[in-house]
Amino acid sequence: MTVKKVFGRPESLCDVPTLYCGGCGHGVAHRLTAEAIDHFGVRSRAVGIAPAGCSVLLYKYFDVDTIESAHGRALAVGTGMKRANPDLFVFSYQGDGDLASIGMCETIHTANRGESITAIFINNAVYGMTGGQMAPTTLPGQRTTTTPAGRCVEREGAPIKMAEMMATFDGVAYSERVALYDPRQIRRARKAVFRAFEAQLNNCGLGFVEILAPCVTNLKMTPDKAQQWVVEELCATFPLGVYKDALPKETNESKPVPAAPERAGATAECGSVAHAD
């Protein structure tokens, strides 16, 4: 009788315990990203860009080349890498403060240039590593260490909706918001990450996945309560769904990435089907 292995640690994920808090979404999001790296066979040409934040330790967990970026600059660093060597598979892994606050300028201009990079965006509505301050995605009324009375929209503005915003750029090939609160959502998140990889592999522009995940420590909740908060609160403000899918109908995963001068032609092949579900 032969035994088929159906589940194991992805090759691109190091066999070490993470320093993340129990119930935090980073572990699952790391795994999904590593599964995509393995699935598409890009480990030998992948470079991961770590942000400032809890996931600055990305290099400990991913068995691929990695670099640490200044706070918010990951996609500018990625632009430099991808332009210098278009054969690299470049992915950034950023939090909400990193990508949507201090790095907003770099984020939207990278999107606008249509860089073929994959951006994994973890939205937990709070600054995790620095101790729970207000993020650009903090919910109205949400108490943080710098909004002790709750976020006041009149005073601090409303949460920024990145997946929707990214979908407005011609240079973005794929934008979806997903969550990790149950196995079904995790499977959807996996598909979204794969799609954002395909955007880069087909040279169609930026692939963007916003992952809603709880920062249990700063929410001061147990993991199960925190998941419930994602379902009831976070998802209410940040609706899940595909906001843009401009990839060709049938993507060819093994299609070689064209060299830089051919990019313009490659982009023209991509459709522009935008829909939300």
Binding site: A46, Y59, D63, E68, R73, A76, V77, G80, A84
Partner: protein, 361 residues
């Protein structure tokens, strides 16, 4: 190394009449520039304009970034892949880049950054100045680090030193800053636009190229465990000590019998050199010492000079920045006088000559 070894090498071929900024850009191209990332700011705009047309001819990459902050981080990303990379800017743009320059120094990534200085503080003006000496030679951003700083004084040196800057960056895995001003950037002069020697080819066995049949690599400047961060700083210090020993460059003229030696770099040295020539015609025993590397400052040569002259006269287009370094090197036994013009003021030859006479009496 004395400047004459690098700068006045026998050269054949024809000289071209070329603007300093273009000479700088072409020097980079001939050093094998792979990528340029930049953002417009006067008085350095000819650099990106020229490269936007020139790099496609050589298969290089040109990107106009959304800000200097983005430019320097694109430089960092491209440098991490092993490419030869540069950016250029001025004043407020260079200030914005300091975050990235600190990261490049901490990551030990090679790149070239040209600062065609404009007067400050703040938005300042576009007139020539040397007000960024301290920012350039101290590091400029946060943390204990240095960039190598080269100070050209002609269109020829804009070409030669930029070409050399890439070799230095690769050799020491360190950012190299070209510190020039609007006069050097905008002025047209005859120059040879072919390098005096071929570029170095240095194997970059640290570059992020994908973990293909080798262990994964990581580039970072944050070390949380034990005393790793302290050790990184010691490693950097050892590297800077090596740089101080190996690369000082300077030019000196008429110093053998001099009672007074003028110390100046860049445009100020060009002006001072005319004043020294006029003083010699009048029979005054005056010489010129021109540092070409500002970090490292040619301390040994300067110390030796200070030991045998009566007085040094530092001339700068600022209110006295290199002055402090010259005083520290010269020691208490020699007088160090100063003449400076800040905020876009350019000293005239007559003005410097008067200062020479005032100080030689």
């Amino acid at each position: 190394m004395n400047a004459t070894a690098v700068m006045t090498q026998e050269r054949t071929g024809k000289r071209a009449l070329v603007q300093g900024n273009i000479a700088l850009a072409e020097g980079a191209v001939q050093a094998g520039l792979d990528c340029y990332f930049g953002y417009p700011i006067t008085p350095q705009n000819q650099v990106p304009e020229y490269l936007s047309a020139r790099l496609p001819e050589t298969g290089g990459v040109f990107v106009q970034a959304e800000s200097e902050l983005a430019s320097i981080n694109m430089v960092l990303g491209a440098a991490a892949t092993g490419a030869r990379v540069m950016t250029s800017s001025s004043g407020p743009g260079i200030s914005l880049m300091q975050e990235g320059i600190s990261f490049l120094a901490g990551d030990q990534l090679p790149c070239v950054i040209a600062n065609i200085m404009r007067s400050g503080p703040g938005l300042g003006g576009i007139k020539p100045t040397q007000g960024d000496y301290l920012q350039a030679t101290r590091g400029g951003g946060h943390g204990d680090y240095h960039t190598i700083v080269l100070a050209p004084a002609s269109a020829q040196e804009m070409f030669d030193l930029t070409h050399k800057a890439f070799d230095l960056a690769d050799t020491y895995r360190n950012p190299v800053l070209i510190l020039a001003d609007a006069i050097l950037g905008q002025m047209k002069e005859p120059a040879y636009l072919e390098p005096a020697y071929p570029r170095l080819e240095i194997k970059k066995d640290w570059a992020l190229t994908g973990a293909d049949n080798r262990p994964a690599r990581n580039i970072r400047s944050m070390y949380l465990e034990g005393d790793d961060q302290e050790q990184l700083n010691y490693t950097l210090r050892d590297k800077y000590d090596k740089i101080k020993k190996e690369i000082p460059m300077w030019e000196s003229a008429d110093t053998d019998d001099a009672d007074l030696v003028v110390v100046a770099f860049g445009t100020a040295a060009r002006i001072a050199s005319s004043a020294v020539r006029m003083a010699r015609i009048e029979g005054l025993r005056v010489g010129l010492f021109r540092p070409i590397t500002l970090f490292p400052l040619p301390e040994d040569a300067l110390r030796e000079l200070a030991s045998r002259v009566k007085r040094l006269l530092v001339v700068e287009m600022n209110l006295g920045q290199m002055l402090h370094d010259v005083r520290a090197v010269a020691g208490a036994d020699v007088d160090v006088a100063f003449h400076g013009r800040p905020g876009g003021g350019v000293p005239t030859v007559r003005e410097v000559l008067d200062k020479i006479k005032e100080n030689i009496a």
